[in-house]
Amino acid sequence: MILDGKCPKGPIEQSWDKHRFDMKLVNPSNKRKYKILVVGTGLAGGAAAATLGELGYNVEAFCYQDSARRAHSIAAQGGINAAKAYPNDGDSIFRLFYDTIKGGDFRAREADVWRLAQVSNNIIDQCVAQGVPFARDYAGYLDNRSFGGAQVSRTFFARGQTGQQLLLGAYSAISRQIKAGTVKLFARTEMLDLVVVDGEAKGITVRDLVTGEIRTHVGDAVVLCTGGYVNVFYLSTNAMGCSVTANWRAHKKGAYFANPCYTQIHPTCIPQTGEHQSKLTLMSESLRNDGRCWAPKKQGDNRPPNEIPEEERDYYLERKYPSFGNLAPRDIASRAAKEQCDDNRGVGPGGRGVYLDFAASIKRLGEDTIRERYGNLFEMYEKITDENGYKVPMRIYPAPHYAMGGLWVDYNCESNVPGLFVLGEANFSVHGANRLGASALMQGLADGYFVIPYTIANYLVKTAPGKVKADNPECKKSLENVNTEMKKLLSINGKKTVSEFHRALGKIMWNNVGMARSEQSLKEAIKQIPVLREEFWQNVKVTGSGPELNQQLENAWRVADFLEFGELLAKDALHRDESCGGHFRVEHQMPDGEAKRDDENFCYAAAWEFKGVGKEPELHKEPLVFENVHLAVRSYK
């Protein structure tokens, strides 16, 4: 089937304004009759729940943490983009639009990206009004820094904790609505199923993580804002609880999963130290503003970095990409680091690392300036590695970080299941095959504050409020299914722990579906994953019982879903017989090792339909049309 993204026609500059005007509105006095279930309280969900509550809808919000303030958006360090052009350096909505399309290696929908660039400016204003303490200059104006893939300074930041401050802004807006009675929050509550009635999304089945109670909530629409899935690699920069579960359950109920193979490996993370490692820590990309990446020129050179003279260092990013230098986009910087290490010029334990060196910047600007800009990052680095980044260069290595893929949505952020909307990292919409730094925060808040409040009305006017009641047979069926699954998980009582399975899956994914993928490696993964999944359902050990706080059970559910999802990810990667952005197929590269796209055959979004566990999923295509930017070879030289 050919999918329709429902993009507005006409000049792109007017597309969103015109679309907004064309959409239906819900009468103010009718709004409170509609109940909207918002799953997730990160930037996307927090912003959506607060704004829908302000508008007068009856909102129920859910998150698995103990508070709405702890969604993983909190961990974003570097900043958020906007086309304010305050520095007068040639930025514009068009340039942000263009950079995002190009950064995504021409695999995103133009109209969605344009809208994102357009509303980016409102986001900054909104956050300032909430009391987000963005960095200011001495005259009191908002300050900017640069991020990868851009030649202008358009990134707004709050020290090294931008995500935290933006999320606390959204959290304060939600808190205000909780007090006003329009939003009801269910924390420590995990969604385990989507309830679909007559083809439309009308509820969710959840488990209360404290009491273990499993129950169904019904509503008039469901908005999933449940974040990304890169924990499928086991080690990643995501939080321990991040999962694909909500998305995957919706997928199993009919929602198409788009471009799952587009995963981002972030170039600057702290290298792994051993088998005990439970997660990887990101060092913000903003560090590449002042840090220089290098590796020793000589293979196997294990002298301490400060003893390697200048002429024996290879500043490989500056050498290969003179015009973007250390600020080359993430996919490119990650692969370049991997190349150095594969060539036996890596540093640190196991040779899995390269240097990020601040010596030149410290000399130029002074240690105090560097401390003011990145103090908390240097502190974090020291806590983890016991090394002082001001004195010796940091060691960094790429790590799974972000999911560009997600549930397929049209221009209204609505999935192919009517009434099911998907926002933020959980959808696939704007980043194509690679996301530029500081653009995820922008997308989450754009979707939540400025898109969903309009587009959801267009759906709601077509549906009578309260159509589905809690005693609907579909709700009962969903409850039964979740209960049966739980009993099964608890009764296996095998020999291996949940983490052992997760780790094993991570190994398969990282080795075969990681930074460099080949037909052979992907086929290998597709062979190994079902075997591991089979073993999981025979041999996993989940302690405790259902009606209690049981963290093993929570994890078992998440890992069970990753074991199904990983296979789809590998299949998507195998089918996409080209390289683009974060998806690098070794068979398709330029003579200089750059990704080689195949626009003739793959200029589309791949949306997969679920056909059963272990069964071949069905591919639906949404062709991508570029009318405002030229499909071109991406060059950062």
Binding site: Q65, D66, S67, A68, R70, H72, I74, A75, Y86, I124, D125, Q126, C127, V128, A129, Q130, G131, P133, F134, A135, R136, D137, G140, Y141, L142, R159, Q161, Q164, L168, Y171, S172, A173, S175, R176, K179, A187, V210, A239, M240, T273, G274, H276, S278, K279, T281, E379, M380, K383, I384, D386, Y449, F450, P453, K495, T497, T543, E548, L549, Q551, Q552
Partner: protein, 246 residues
């Protein structure tokens, strides 16, 4: 290294609890504290025992989820460090380590080391925001904010809401937490308009939710993994007094 752990175990809110002893073997100095507990849990599971429940999520020191009192000190006492960022190199072979939950009247225990901190959310709900509606706000540069004010607000805004200040305080007071939000918003032009109502509502909510009073022990600042300064408590008191004259 090998360590002996004394861990608080309690099956539920109304169940009896006690310290149980576990051995942590072959711990690497590069491991984080929670990774050490992960391995202890793996052993427990394999032995058919219930693993230790503890809150955690980001493991980067920013979400505020992790919450353990280690050897009597919230987060273990390393300067500006959450438990998840505490590394085993700060311990020695043969050490005995006592691990307990946050203990405060306002934080009912749920299981083992997991407590209910929603009382902190209720304080924010009572007024920890600016009442701005989405859309229809001024340009971000329309109101200038002097850099020192922005920095002061940011110093306060760094709070991660973990509740270590409450756990560290002999009175179980949430004064540092509350004052950080009051001070952040009172320092910014966007938050000034509602400063008086805010400080009254938030201090009232603090009382209602079972938090104690502040009697200047400053244990909160010592326990805070983000180094939030007690000067914000003085700021809250000033804001409160000011509100009485409005």
């Amino acid at each position: 290294m090998n360590l002996t752990l004394h861990v608080w175990r309690q099956a539920g809110p109304n169940q009896p609890g006690k310290l149980e002893v576990y051995e942590a073997k072959h711990v690497s100095p590069d491991q984080s504290f929670l990774e050490m507990l992960d391995e202890v849990n793996e052993e427990l599971i394999k032995g058919g025992k219930d693993p230790i429940s503890f809150d955690h999520d980001c493991r980067e020191g920013i979400c505020g989820m992790c919450s353990q009192v280690i050897n009597g000190v919230p987060h273990g006492g390393q300067d500006r460090t959450t438990v998840c960022q505490l590394h085993m190199r700060t311990f020695k072979d043969g050490d005995s380590i006592f691990i307990e939950p946050w203990r405060a009247r306002a934080f009912p225990l749920l299981r083992d080391l997991v407590v209910d901190r929603t009382a902190l959310d209720r304080i924010i709900e009572s007024g920890g925001y600016t009442s701005c509606h989405t859309g229809g706000v001024a340009d971000g540069n329309a109101i200038l904010i002097p850099k020192p004010d922005a920095e002061y607000a940011m110093d306060a805004a760094e709070c991660i809401g973990c509740g270590a200040c409450v756990a560290g305080c002999p009175n179980g007071s949430a004064m540092l937490f509350t004052s950080a939000k009051v001070a952040q918003l009172a320092a910014l032009p966007q938050g000034k308009a509602e400063a008086a109502q805010r400080v009254c509502a938030m201090t009232e909510s603090m009382k209602e939710n079972g938090f104690g009073n502040c009697t200047n022990h400053y244990e909160c600042q010592a326990a805070c993994p983000k180094g939030i300064n007690v000067k914000f408590i003085a700021k809250l008191n000033r804001e409160f007094q000011k509100s009485l004259f409005e």
